[in-house]
Amino acid sequence: MSDHHDDQHGHDDQHGHIKLEYHPGLPLSLGKLCLWLFLSTEIMFFAGLIGAYVVLRFGAPAGTWPTPHDVHLSEPIGAFNTFVLICSSLSVVLCLEAAKKNQAAAAKTWMLITFVLGSVFLGVKGYEYKEKFAHGIYPAKPHGLMYDRADVYYVSALKLRLEAVNREMTDEQKAQEAIEGFTREQWVNLMHSGAVQWTARHVTIDPSTLEARDLLEGLAYSVQHGHSSDYPVARAQAERERLSADLAGLKEEAGGIQQNEAQMRERLEQAQAANAEAEPEGDAPTAEEIQSELAALTMQSTEMQQRIKPVQDRVAFLDVLLRDDAHLMQHGIEHEMPWLRLPFVLPGGNMWASTYFLLTGFHAIHVIIGLIIFALVLPVTLGRNKAEYIENAGLYWHFVDLVWIFLFPILYLF
Protein backbone atom coordinates (compact mmCIF):
# COMPACT_ATOMS: atom_id res chain seq x y z
CA MET A 1 0.00 0.00 0.00
CA SER A 2 1.19 3.50 -0.79
CA ASP A 3 0.38 6.59 1.21
CA HIS A 4 0.74 9.28 -1.41
CA HIS A 5 -0.80 12.50 -0.45
CA ASP A 6 -3.12 13.89 -3.06
CA ASP A 7 -3.20 17.68 -2.74
CA GLN A 8 -6.62 18.04 -4.27
CA HIS A 9 -8.44 15.14 -2.65
CA GLY A 10 -6.22 14.11 0.20
CA HIS A 11 -7.95 16.13 2.96
CA ASP A 12 -11.39 15.79 4.23
CA ASP A 13 -12.37 19.47 4.39
CA GLN A 14 -14.78 18.95 7.27
CA HIS A 15 -12.72 16.76 9.54
CA GLY A 16 -9.18 17.45 8.39
CA HIS A 17 -8.41 13.73 7.99
CA ILE A 18 -5.96 12.52 5.37
CA LYS A 19 -7.49 10.20 2.78
CA LEU A 20 -5.19 7.26 1.97
CA GLU A 21 -5.18 5.94 -1.58
CA TYR A 22 -4.41 2.36 -2.45
CA HIS A 23 -1.57 1.80 -4.91
CA PRO A 24 -0.32 -1.67 -5.75
CA GLY A 25 3.36 -2.45 -5.36
CA LEU A 26 3.56 -3.18 -9.07
CA PRO A 27 1.53 -1.32 -11.67
CA LEU A 28 -0.53 -4.32 -12.64
CA SER A 29 -3.51 -6.18 -11.28
CA LEU A 30 -3.04 -8.92 -8.72
CA GLY A 31 -4.44 -11.50 -11.14
CA LYS A 32 -1.95 -10.56 -13.79
CA LEU A 33 0.89 -10.43 -11.27
CA CYS A 34 0.03 -13.93 -10.08
CA LEU A 35 -0.17 -15.17 -13.65
CA TRP A 36 3.24 -13.73 -14.47
CA LEU A 37 4.72 -15.28 -11.33
CA PHE A 38 3.17 -18.58 -12.41
CA LEU A 39 4.54 -18.13 -15.93
CA SER A 40 8.04 -17.46 -14.58
CA THR A 41 7.91 -20.82 -12.77
CA GLU A 42 6.59 -22.38 -15.98
CA ILE A 43 9.53 -20.94 -17.89
CA MET A 44 11.88 -22.81 -15.56
CA PHE A 45 9.74 -25.97 -15.69
CA PHE A 46 9.87 -26.18 -19.47
CA ALA A 47 13.48 -24.98 -19.55
CA GLY A 48 14.34 -28.00 -17.41
CA LEU A 49 12.48 -30.38 -19.71
CA ILE A 50 13.76 -28.87 -22.95
CA GLY A 51 17.25 -28.57 -21.47
CA ALA A 52 17.21 -32.25 -20.48
CA TYR A 53 16.17 -33.17 -24.02
CA VAL A 54 18.87 -30.99 -25.58
CA VAL A 55 21.73 -32.28 -23.42
CA LEU A 56 20.57 -35.88 -23.83
CA ARG A 57 20.29 -35.40 -27.58
CA PHE A 58 23.68 -33.79 -28.04
CA GLY A 59 25.36 -35.91 -25.38
CA ALA A 60 24.40 -39.12 -27.17
CA PRO A 61 27.25 -40.75 -29.11
CA ALA A 62 27.01 -40.42 -32.89
CA GLY A 63 24.44 -42.73 -34.43
CA THR A 64 22.62 -43.41 -31.17
CA TRP A 65 19.83 -40.87 -31.44
CA PRO A 66 16.92 -41.53 -33.81
CA THR A 67 16.17 -39.19 -36.68
CA PRO A 68 12.58 -37.88 -37.06
CA HIS A 69 12.15 -40.37 -39.92
CA ASP A 70 13.16 -43.30 -37.67
CA VAL A 71 10.43 -42.48 -35.16
CA HIS A 72 7.74 -41.67 -37.74
CA LEU A 73 7.66 -37.96 -37.00
CA SER A 74 6.20 -35.95 -39.84
CA GLU A 75 7.78 -32.52 -40.24
CA PRO A 76 4.89 -31.11 -42.32
CA ILE A 77 2.44 -32.15 -39.59
CA GLY A 78 4.62 -30.43 -36.99
CA ALA A 79 4.79 -27.30 -39.14
CA PHE A 80 1.01 -27.39 -39.57
CA ASN A 81 0.53 -27.57 -35.81
CA THR A 82 2.90 -24.62 -35.39
CA PHE A 83 0.79 -22.65 -37.86
CA VAL A 84 -2.38 -23.61 -35.98
CA LEU A 85 -0.94 -22.35 -32.68
CA ILE A 86 0.25 -19.09 -34.27
CA CYS A 87 -3.26 -18.56 -35.66
CA SER A 88 -4.73 -19.23 -32.21
CA SER A 89 -2.32 -16.71 -30.66
CA LEU A 90 -3.51 -14.11 -33.13
CA SER A 91 -7.16 -14.92 -32.53
CA VAL A 92 -6.85 -14.67 -28.75
CA VAL A 93 -5.13 -11.28 -28.95
CA LEU A 94 -7.85 -10.06 -31.33
CA CYS A 95 -10.42 -11.40 -28.87
CA LEU A 96 -8.84 -9.28 -26.14
CA GLU A 97 -8.84 -6.17 -28.32
CA ALA A 98 -12.51 -6.71 -29.20
CA ALA A 99 -13.41 -7.20 -25.52
CA LYS A 100 -11.58 -4.00 -24.57
CA LYS A 101 -13.70 -2.16 -27.13
CA ASN A 102 -16.78 -3.84 -25.65
CA GLN A 103 -17.46 -5.66 -28.92
CA ALA A 104 -18.81 -8.78 -27.24
CA ALA A 105 -19.93 -10.56 -30.41
CA ALA A 106 -16.55 -10.14 -32.12
CA ALA A 107 -14.76 -11.18 -28.93
CA LYS A 108 -16.85 -14.31 -28.70
CA THR A 109 -16.16 -15.19 -32.33
CA TRP A 110 -12.42 -14.83 -31.82
CA MET A 111 -12.62 -16.83 -28.60
CA LEU A 112 -14.52 -19.59 -30.40
CA ILE A 113 -11.91 -19.58 -33.18
CA THR A 114 -9.16 -19.87 -30.57
CA PHE A 115 -10.95 -22.77 -28.94
CA VAL A 116 -11.39 -24.56 -32.26
CA LEU A 117 -7.75 -24.00 -33.21
CA GLY A 118 -6.58 -25.33 -29.85
CA SER A 119 -8.77 -28.40 -30.36
CA VAL A 120 -7.32 -28.89 -33.85
CA PHE A 121 -3.83 -28.77 -32.35
CA LEU A 122 -4.80 -31.44 -29.83
CA GLY A 123 -6.45 -33.55 -32.53
CA VAL A 124 -3.29 -33.49 -34.65
CA LYS A 125 -1.19 -34.33 -31.61
CA GLY A 126 -3.54 -37.24 -30.85
CA TYR A 127 -3.11 -38.49 -34.42
CA GLU A 128 0.67 -38.29 -34.03
CA TYR A 129 0.54 -40.24 -30.77
CA LYS A 130 -1.63 -42.87 -32.44
CA GLU A 131 0.97 -43.26 -35.19
CA LYS A 132 3.72 -43.74 -32.62
CA PHE A 133 1.71 -46.33 -30.71
CA ALA A 134 0.90 -48.16 -33.96
CA HIS A 135 4.64 -48.54 -34.56
CA GLY A 136 5.35 -49.78 -31.03
CA ILE A 137 6.82 -46.48 -29.83
CA TYR A 138 5.67 -45.98 -26.26
CA PRO A 139 7.23 -43.98 -23.46
CA ALA A 140 7.87 -47.11 -21.41
CA LYS A 141 7.61 -50.86 -21.19
CA PRO A 142 5.65 -53.15 -21.37
CA HIS A 143 4.10 -51.76 -24.56
CA GLY A 144 7.30 -50.35 -26.04
CA LEU A 145 8.89 -52.53 -28.71
CA MET A 146 12.19 -50.66 -29.04
CA TYR A 147 15.57 -52.08 -28.14
CA ASP A 148 18.78 -50.07 -27.92
CA ARG A 149 21.00 -52.73 -29.42
CA ALA A 150 20.87 -56.08 -31.17
CA ASP A 151 21.95 -58.48 -28.43
CA VAL A 152 20.82 -61.68 -26.76
CA TYR A 153 18.07 -59.82 -24.89
CA TYR A 154 16.68 -58.62 -28.20
CA VAL A 155 16.75 -62.15 -29.65
CA SER A 156 15.00 -63.39 -26.54
CA ALA A 157 12.30 -60.72 -26.95
CA LEU A 158 11.80 -61.74 -30.58
CA LYS A 159 11.48 -65.39 -29.58
CA LEU A 160 8.89 -64.60 -26.92
CA ARG A 161 6.92 -62.43 -29.31
CA LEU A 162 6.81 -65.08 -32.05
CA GLU A 163 5.70 -67.69 -29.52
CA ALA A 164 2.99 -65.33 -28.30
CA VAL A 165 1.82 -64.70 -31.88
CA ASN A 166 1.65 -68.43 -32.51
CA ARG A 167 -0.34 -68.92 -29.34
CA GLU A 168 -2.77 -66.06 -29.92
CA MET A 169 -3.58 -66.68 -33.59
CA THR A 170 -6.97 -68.17 -34.37
CA ASP A 171 -7.23 -71.05 -36.84
CA GLU A 172 -8.52 -68.64 -39.44
CA GLN A 173 -5.58 -66.29 -38.92
CA LYS A 174 -3.14 -69.17 -39.04
CA ALA A 175 -4.41 -70.11 -42.48
CA GLN A 176 -4.14 -66.57 -43.88
CA GLU A 177 -1.34 -65.90 -46.33
CA ALA A 178 1.57 -64.03 -44.74
CA ILE A 179 3.82 -63.93 -47.78
CA GLU A 180 3.76 -65.72 -51.10
CA GLY A 181 3.94 -69.45 -50.44
CA PHE A 182 3.59 -69.19 -46.65
CA THR A 183 0.63 -69.04 -44.33
CA ARG A 184 0.97 -66.96 -41.19
CA GLU A 185 1.55 -70.04 -39.08
CA GLN A 186 4.19 -71.39 -41.44
CA TRP A 187 5.95 -68.04 -41.58
CA VAL A 188 5.99 -67.62 -37.79
CA ASN A 189 7.41 -71.13 -37.40
CA LEU A 190 10.00 -70.56 -40.11
CA MET A 191 11.08 -67.27 -38.59
CA HIS A 192 11.21 -68.82 -35.15
CA SER A 193 13.54 -71.61 -36.24
CA GLY A 194 15.31 -70.11 -39.26
CA ALA A 195 16.03 -66.69 -37.79
CA VAL A 196 15.58 -66.47 -34.05
CA GLN A 197 16.65 -69.91 -32.84
CA TRP A 198 19.46 -70.03 -35.39
CA THR A 199 20.80 -66.69 -34.18
CA ALA A 200 20.29 -67.56 -30.51
CA ARG A 201 22.17 -70.85 -30.96
CA HIS A 202 25.14 -69.13 -32.55
CA VAL A 203 25.40 -66.00 -30.44
CA THR A 204 25.00 -67.64 -27.06
CA ILE A 205 28.22 -69.58 -27.67
CA ASP A 206 30.21 -66.34 -27.93
CA PRO A 207 28.31 -63.09 -28.53
CA SER A 208 31.50 -61.09 -28.90
CA THR A 209 32.68 -62.64 -32.18
CA LEU A 210 32.30 -60.76 -35.44
CA GLU A 211 30.17 -63.55 -36.83
CA ALA A 212 27.78 -63.31 -33.89
CA ARG A 213 27.60 -59.53 -34.25
CA ASP A 214 26.89 -59.89 -37.96
CA LEU A 215 24.12 -62.38 -37.27
CA LEU A 216 22.52 -60.14 -34.64
CA GLU A 217 22.74 -57.04 -36.79
CA GLY A 218 21.43 -58.96 -39.80
CA LEU A 219 18.43 -60.17 -37.80
CA ALA A 220 17.70 -56.68 -36.46
CA TYR A 221 18.07 -55.24 -39.97
CA SER A 222 15.67 -57.83 -41.42
CA VAL A 223 13.01 -56.94 -38.87
CA GLN A 224 13.23 -53.15 -39.25
CA HIS A 225 15.79 -50.56 -40.23
CA GLY A 226 15.89 -46.83 -40.65
CA HIS A 227 18.54 -46.64 -43.35
CA SER A 228 18.95 -49.07 -46.22
CA SER A 229 22.30 -50.71 -46.68
CA ASP A 230 23.57 -53.32 -49.15
CA TYR A 231 25.89 -54.92 -46.63
CA PRO A 232 23.32 -57.05 -44.73
CA VAL A 233 21.94 -58.30 -48.05
CA ALA A 234 25.40 -59.21 -49.34
CA ARG A 235 26.14 -60.91 -46.04
CA ALA A 236 22.87 -62.88 -46.17
CA GLN A 237 23.58 -63.93 -49.77
CA ALA A 238 27.05 -65.16 -48.80
CA GLU A 239 25.58 -67.03 -45.85
CA ARG A 240 22.93 -68.64 -48.02
CA GLU A 241 25.53 -69.84 -50.54
CA ARG A 242 27.71 -71.25 -47.79
CA LEU A 243 24.81 -72.94 -46.01
CA SER A 244 23.38 -74.32 -49.25
CA ALA A 245 26.71 -76.05 -49.92
CA ASP A 246 26.77 -77.32 -46.31
CA LEU A 247 23.20 -78.52 -46.66
CA ALA A 248 24.00 -80.42 -49.84
CA GLY A 249 26.91 -82.14 -48.05
CA LEU A 250 24.75 -82.97 -45.06
CA LYS A 251 22.00 -84.36 -47.25
CA GLU A 252 24.52 -86.52 -49.09
CA GLU A 253 25.84 -87.81 -45.81
CA ALA A 254 22.31 -88.46 -44.60
CA GLY A 255 21.54 -90.23 -47.88
CA GLY A 256 24.56 -92.53 -47.33
CA ILE A 257 23.42 -93.32 -43.79
CA GLN A 258 19.90 -94.06 -44.98
CA GLN A 259 21.29 -96.33 -47.68
CA ASN A 260 23.38 -98.22 -45.12
CA GLU A 261 20.34 -98.40 -42.91
CA ALA A 262 18.26 -99.92 -45.70
CA GLN A 263 21.01 -102.48 -46.47
CA MET A 264 21.30 -103.31 -42.83
CA ARG A 265 17.56 -103.88 -42.57
CA GLU A 266 17.78 -106.22 -45.56
CA ARG A 267 20.64 -108.13 -43.95
CA LEU A 268 18.73 -108.31 -40.71
CA GLU A 269 15.76 -109.83 -42.45
CA GLN A 270 18.04 -112.35 -44.16
CA ALA A 271 19.77 -113.18 -40.90
CA GLN A 272 16.48 -113.60 -39.11
CA ALA A 273 15.28 -115.87 -41.94
CA ALA A 274 18.51 -117.93 -41.80
CA ASN A 275 18.20 -118.20 -38.05
CA ALA A 276 14.76 -119.62 -38.45
CA GLU A 277 15.83 -122.25 -41.03
CA ALA A 278 19.28 -123.38 -39.89
CA GLU A 279 22.35 -122.48 -37.85
CA PRO A 280 24.19 -119.37 -39.18
CA GLU A 281 27.68 -119.67 -40.61
CA GLY A 282 30.56 -119.08 -38.22
CA ASP A 283 31.78 -115.71 -39.66
CA ALA A 284 28.37 -114.24 -40.46
CA PRO A 285 27.10 -111.61 -37.97
CA THR A 286 24.24 -112.70 -35.85
CA ALA A 287 20.84 -111.00 -35.97
CA GLU A 288 21.58 -109.36 -32.62
CA GLU A 289 24.82 -107.88 -33.96
CA ILE A 290 23.04 -106.54 -37.03
CA GLN A 291 20.29 -105.11 -34.87
CA SER A 292 22.85 -103.34 -32.76
CA GLU A 293 24.51 -101.84 -35.88
CA LEU A 294 21.11 -100.86 -37.23
CA ALA A 295 20.29 -99.09 -33.98
CA ALA A 296 23.57 -97.12 -34.25
CA LEU A 297 22.75 -96.18 -37.83
CA THR A 298 19.24 -95.08 -36.90
CA MET A 299 20.70 -92.90 -34.19
CA GLN A 300 23.16 -91.40 -36.70
CA SER A 301 20.32 -90.77 -39.13
CA THR A 302 18.26 -89.03 -36.44
CA GLU A 303 21.23 -86.90 -35.44
CA MET A 304 21.77 -86.04 -39.08
CA GLN A 305 18.13 -84.97 -39.45
CA GLN A 306 18.54 -82.81 -36.35
CA ARG A 307 21.58 -81.18 -37.96
CA ILE A 308 19.84 -80.76 -41.32
CA LYS A 309 16.56 -79.25 -40.02
CA PRO A 310 17.94 -75.93 -38.68
CA VAL A 311 20.19 -75.45 -41.73
CA GLN A 312 17.27 -76.22 -43.99
CA ASP A 313 15.06 -73.73 -42.12
CA ARG A 314 17.81 -71.12 -42.18
CA VAL A 315 18.29 -71.52 -45.93
CA ALA A 316 14.51 -71.39 -46.46
CA PHE A 317 14.30 -68.22 -44.35
CA LEU A 318 17.17 -66.59 -46.24
CA ASP A 319 15.55 -67.63 -49.54
CA VAL A 320 12.38 -65.76 -48.60
CA LEU A 321 14.35 -62.76 -47.37
CA LEU A 322 16.42 -62.54 -50.53
CA ARG A 323 13.87 -63.31 -53.21
CA ASP A 324 12.66 -60.52 -55.52
CA ASP A 325 15.92 -58.56 -55.07
CA ALA A 326 15.78 -58.95 -51.30
CA HIS A 327 12.44 -57.16 -51.19
CA LEU A 328 11.49 -58.43 -47.74
CA MET A 329 14.90 -57.74 -46.24
CA GLN A 330 15.16 -54.25 -47.68
CA HIS A 331 11.63 -53.28 -46.64
CA GLY A 332 11.74 -54.99 -43.27
CA ILE A 333 9.58 -57.84 -41.97
CA GLU A 334 7.81 -55.48 -39.59
CA HIS A 335 6.89 -53.20 -42.48
CA GLU A 336 5.59 -56.03 -44.65
CA MET A 337 3.85 -57.87 -41.83
CA PRO A 338 2.78 -55.30 -39.26
CA TRP A 339 0.43 -57.82 -37.64
CA LEU A 340 3.49 -59.49 -36.11
CA ARG A 341 4.33 -56.40 -33.97
CA LEU A 342 7.90 -57.56 -33.57
CA PRO A 343 10.38 -55.85 -31.27
CA PHE A 344 12.89 -53.78 -33.22
CA VAL A 345 16.26 -52.16 -32.68
CA LEU A 346 16.44 -48.38 -32.61
CA PRO A 347 19.53 -47.04 -30.83
CA GLY A 348 18.49 -44.37 -28.33
CA GLY A 349 14.83 -44.93 -29.23
CA ASN A 350 13.67 -45.47 -25.66
CA MET A 351 15.41 -42.34 -24.41
CA TRP A 352 13.93 -40.40 -27.32
CA ALA A 353 10.43 -41.72 -26.60
CA SER A 354 10.69 -40.87 -22.90
CA THR A 355 11.71 -37.29 -23.59
CA TYR A 356 9.35 -36.83 -26.53
CA PHE A 357 6.27 -38.00 -24.68
CA LEU A 358 7.26 -36.08 -21.56
CA LEU A 359 7.75 -32.81 -23.46
CA THR A 360 4.77 -33.04 -25.77
CA GLY A 361 2.62 -34.61 -23.05
CA PHE A 362 3.19 -31.74 -20.63
CA HIS A 363 2.65 -29.29 -23.45
CA ALA A 364 -0.60 -31.03 -24.40
CA ILE A 365 -1.75 -30.86 -20.75
CA HIS A 366 -1.14 -27.11 -20.86
CA VAL A 367 -3.16 -26.88 -24.07
CA ILE A 368 -6.03 -28.77 -22.45
CA ILE A 369 -5.96 -26.44 -19.44
CA GLY A 370 -5.97 -23.46 -21.82
CA LEU A 371 -8.99 -24.87 -23.63
CA ILE A 372 -10.83 -25.33 -20.33
CA ILE A 373 -10.04 -21.69 -19.43
CA PHE A 374 -11.48 -20.58 -22.77
CA ALA A 375 -14.48 -22.87 -22.51
CA LEU A 376 -15.41 -21.37 -19.14
CA VAL A 377 -16.09 -17.94 -20.66
CA LEU A 378 -17.53 -19.07 -23.97
CA PRO A 379 -21.13 -19.02 -22.69
CA VAL A 380 -20.88 -15.53 -21.12
CA THR A 381 -20.83 -12.07 -22.69
CA LEU A 382 -17.27 -11.07 -23.43
CA GLY A 383 -17.51 -7.36 -22.84
CA ARG A 384 -15.07 -4.93 -21.25
CA ASN A 385 -15.66 -6.47 -17.82
CA LYS A 386 -14.13 -9.71 -19.07
CA ALA A 387 -11.09 -8.04 -20.64
CA GLU A 388 -8.80 -8.83 -17.74
CA TYR A 389 -9.82 -12.49 -17.71
CA ILE A 390 -9.22 -12.71 -21.44
CA GLU A 391 -5.88 -10.93 -21.08
CA ASN A 392 -4.70 -13.41 -18.45
CA ALA A 393 -6.03 -16.39 -20.38
CA GLY A 394 -4.33 -15.00 -23.49
CA LEU A 395 -1.01 -14.60 -21.66
CA TYR A 396 -1.18 -18.23 -20.62
CA TRP A 397 -2.06 -19.27 -24.16
CA HIS A 398 0.80 -17.27 -25.65
CA PHE A 399 3.15 -19.02 -23.25
CA VAL A 400 1.86 -22.37 -24.53
CA ASP A 401 2.58 -21.10 -28.04
CA LEU A 402 6.08 -20.00 -26.96
CA VAL A 403 6.91 -23.47 -25.69
CA TRP A 404 5.81 -25.01 -28.98
CA ILE A 405 7.90 -22.48 -30.90
CA PHE A 406 10.98 -24.14 -29.35
CA LEU A 407 9.63 -27.69 -29.36
CA PHE A 408 8.90 -27.74 -33.08
CA PRO A 409 12.47 -27.30 -34.38
CA ILE A 410 14.06 -29.26 -31.55
CA LEU A 411 11.83 -32.31 -31.94
CA TYR A 412 11.01 -32.29 -35.64
CA LEU A 413 13.93 -30.65 -37.42
CA PHE A 414 17.10 -31.29 -35.38
Partner: protein, 149 residues
Protein backbone atom coordinates in the same frame (compact mmCIF):
# COMPACT_ATOMS: atom_id res chain seq x y z
CA UNK B 1 12.65 4.33 -8.39
CA UNK B 2 10.98 4.32 -11.75
CA UNK B 3 8.14 2.31 -10.32
CA UNK B 4 7.14 4.89 -7.75
CA UNK B 5 7.63 7.58 -10.34
CA UNK B 6 5.12 5.85 -12.61
CA UNK B 7 2.67 5.44 -9.77
CA UNK B 8 2.72 9.12 -9.11
CA UNK B 9 2.62 10.04 -12.74
CA UNK B 10 -0.36 7.88 -13.60
CA UNK B 11 -2.30 7.90 -10.38
CA UNK B 12 -5.02 7.14 -9.68
CA UNK B 13 -4.41 3.56 -10.75
CA UNK B 14 -7.03 0.92 -11.41
CA UNK B 15 -5.29 -2.38 -11.00
CA UNK B 16 -7.95 -4.16 -12.98
CA UNK B 17 -6.76 -2.55 -16.18
CA UNK B 18 -3.14 -3.54 -15.87
CA UNK B 19 -0.61 -1.89 -18.13
CA UNK B 20 -3.07 -0.07 -20.28
CA UNK B 21 -3.59 2.80 -17.92
CA UNK B 22 0.06 3.71 -18.14
CA UNK B 23 0.05 4.13 -21.85
CA UNK B 24 -3.01 6.03 -22.76
CA UNK B 25 -5.85 3.54 -22.40
CA UNK B 26 -6.81 0.35 -24.25
CA UNK B 27 -5.51 1.18 -27.66
CA UNK B 28 -2.04 0.14 -28.76
CA UNK B 29 -2.60 1.50 -32.23
CA UNK B 30 -5.20 -0.84 -33.76
CA UNK B 31 -5.07 -4.49 -34.76
CA UNK B 32 -2.88 -3.98 -37.82
CA UNK B 33 0.34 -4.68 -35.92
CA UNK B 34 -0.98 -8.03 -34.73
CA UNK B 35 -1.63 -9.08 -38.31
CA UNK B 36 1.88 -7.94 -39.27
CA UNK B 37 3.33 -9.98 -36.40
CA UNK B 38 1.21 -12.94 -37.49
CA UNK B 39 2.56 -12.73 -41.04
CA UNK B 40 6.11 -12.44 -39.69
CA UNK B 41 5.59 -15.50 -37.50
CA UNK B 42 4.31 -17.48 -40.49
CA UNK B 43 7.29 -16.38 -42.56
CA UNK B 44 9.72 -17.34 -39.83
CA UNK B 45 8.04 -20.75 -39.42
CA UNK B 46 8.39 -21.24 -43.16
CA UNK B 47 12.09 -20.32 -42.85
CA UNK B 48 12.71 -22.99 -40.21
CA UNK B 49 10.66 -25.50 -42.21
CA UNK B 50 12.97 -24.96 -45.20
CA UNK B 51 15.61 -26.96 -43.33
CA UNK B 52 13.39 -30.01 -43.84
CA UNK B 53 14.02 -30.15 -47.58
CA UNK B 54 16.81 -32.20 -49.09
CA UNK B 55 18.32 -29.34 -51.08
CA UNK B 56 18.78 -27.39 -47.86
CA UNK B 57 20.47 -30.35 -46.17
CA UNK B 58 22.83 -30.70 -49.11
CA UNK B 59 23.71 -27.01 -49.27
CA UNK B 60 23.93 -25.98 -45.59
CA UNK B 61 26.04 -27.67 -42.88
CA UNK B 62 23.98 -29.23 -40.08
CA UNK B 63 25.49 -27.02 -37.36
CA UNK B 64 24.69 -23.85 -39.32
CA UNK B 65 21.21 -25.16 -39.99
CA UNK B 66 20.59 -25.80 -36.30
CA UNK B 67 21.92 -22.38 -35.29
CA UNK B 68 19.64 -20.85 -37.90
CA UNK B 69 16.62 -22.73 -36.56
CA UNK B 70 17.33 -21.61 -33.00
CA UNK B 71 17.78 -18.02 -34.15
CA UNK B 72 14.46 -18.19 -35.97
CA UNK B 73 12.80 -19.67 -32.86
CA UNK B 74 14.24 -16.92 -30.66
CA UNK B 75 12.96 -14.33 -33.15
CA UNK B 76 9.50 -15.87 -33.10
CA UNK B 77 9.52 -16.03 -29.30
CA UNK B 78 10.50 -12.36 -29.10
CA UNK B 79 7.70 -11.35 -31.44
CA UNK B 80 5.13 -13.29 -29.42
CA UNK B 81 6.38 -11.94 -26.09
CA UNK B 82 6.73 -8.33 -27.21
CA UNK B 83 3.52 -7.92 -29.17
CA UNK B 84 1.07 -10.70 -28.34
CA UNK B 85 2.01 -10.72 -24.64
CA UNK B 86 2.23 -6.91 -24.70
CA UNK B 87 5.61 -6.83 -22.99
CA UNK B 88 6.74 -4.01 -25.26
CA UNK B 89 4.10 -1.78 -23.68
CA UNK B 90 4.58 -2.92 -20.12
CA UNK B 91 6.41 -1.01 -17.40
CA UNK B 92 9.75 -2.08 -15.97
CA UNK B 93 8.26 -4.80 -13.77
CA UNK B 94 8.53 -7.06 -16.80
CA UNK B 95 12.29 -7.33 -16.23
CA UNK B 96 11.80 -8.30 -12.59
CA UNK B 97 9.68 -11.31 -13.49
CA UNK B 98 11.22 -12.46 -16.76
CA UNK B 99 14.98 -11.87 -16.44
CA UNK B 100 15.60 -13.95 -13.27
CA UNK B 101 13.45 -16.78 -14.63
CA UNK B 102 15.27 -16.64 -17.95
CA UNK B 103 18.68 -16.63 -16.29
CA UNK B 104 17.79 -19.51 -14.01
CA UNK B 105 16.57 -21.46 -17.02
CA UNK B 106 19.93 -20.98 -18.71
CA UNK B 107 21.79 -21.96 -15.53
CA UNK B 108 19.58 -25.02 -15.21
CA UNK B 109 20.46 -26.16 -18.72
CA UNK B 110 24.17 -25.50 -18.11
CA UNK B 111 24.05 -27.51 -14.91
CA UNK B 112 22.68 -30.51 -16.78
CA UNK B 113 25.70 -30.61 -19.10
CA UNK B 114 28.33 -32.23 -16.81
CA UNK B 115 26.16 -35.08 -15.54
CA UNK B 116 23.86 -35.71 -18.47
CA UNK B 117 25.41 -34.10 -21.53
CA UNK B 118 28.85 -35.56 -20.86
CA UNK B 119 27.59 -38.80 -19.30
CA UNK B 120 29.40 -41.08 -21.73
CA UNK B 121 32.79 -39.66 -20.64
CA UNK B 122 32.42 -41.56 -17.40
CA UNK B 123 31.00 -44.82 -18.75
CA UNK B 124 32.79 -47.96 -17.62
CA UNK B 125 33.39 -50.83 -20.04
CA UNK B 126 30.57 -52.71 -18.35
CA UNK B 127 28.21 -49.79 -18.86
CA UNK B 128 29.10 -49.56 -22.55
CA UNK B 129 27.88 -53.16 -22.96
CA UNK B 130 24.35 -51.93 -22.28
CA UNK B 131 24.58 -48.59 -24.07
CA UNK B 132 22.78 -48.05 -27.39
CA UNK B 133 24.86 -49.44 -30.21
CA UNK B 134 25.38 -47.02 -33.09
CA UNK B 135 24.14 -48.09 -36.48
CA UNK B 136 27.19 -48.75 -38.64
CA UNK B 137 26.62 -47.78 -42.23
CA UNK B 138 28.50 -49.98 -44.66
CA UNK B 139 29.14 -47.63 -47.53
CA UNK B 140 31.03 -49.94 -49.89
CA UNK B 141 28.86 -52.97 -50.44
CA UNK B 142 30.95 -54.28 -53.37
CA UNK B 143 33.49 -55.68 -50.94
CA UNK B 144 30.92 -58.04 -49.49
CA UNK B 145 30.73 -59.09 -45.91
CA UNK B 146 34.39 -59.89 -45.48
CA UNK B 147 35.46 -56.69 -47.12
CA UNK B 148 33.82 -54.57 -44.50
CA UNK B 149 35.29 -56.31 -41.55
Amino acid sequence: MSQSHENVEHAPHDPAHGHDDHHGGDDHGGNGKYWVVFVLLCLLTTCSFLTYFEWWEEAIPVSVSRAFMMAVSCGKALLVMLFFMHLIWEANWKWVLTVPAGMMSIFLMCMLIPDIGLRTNHYTNQRWLHAPQPVIEHVDSDHGPSGDH
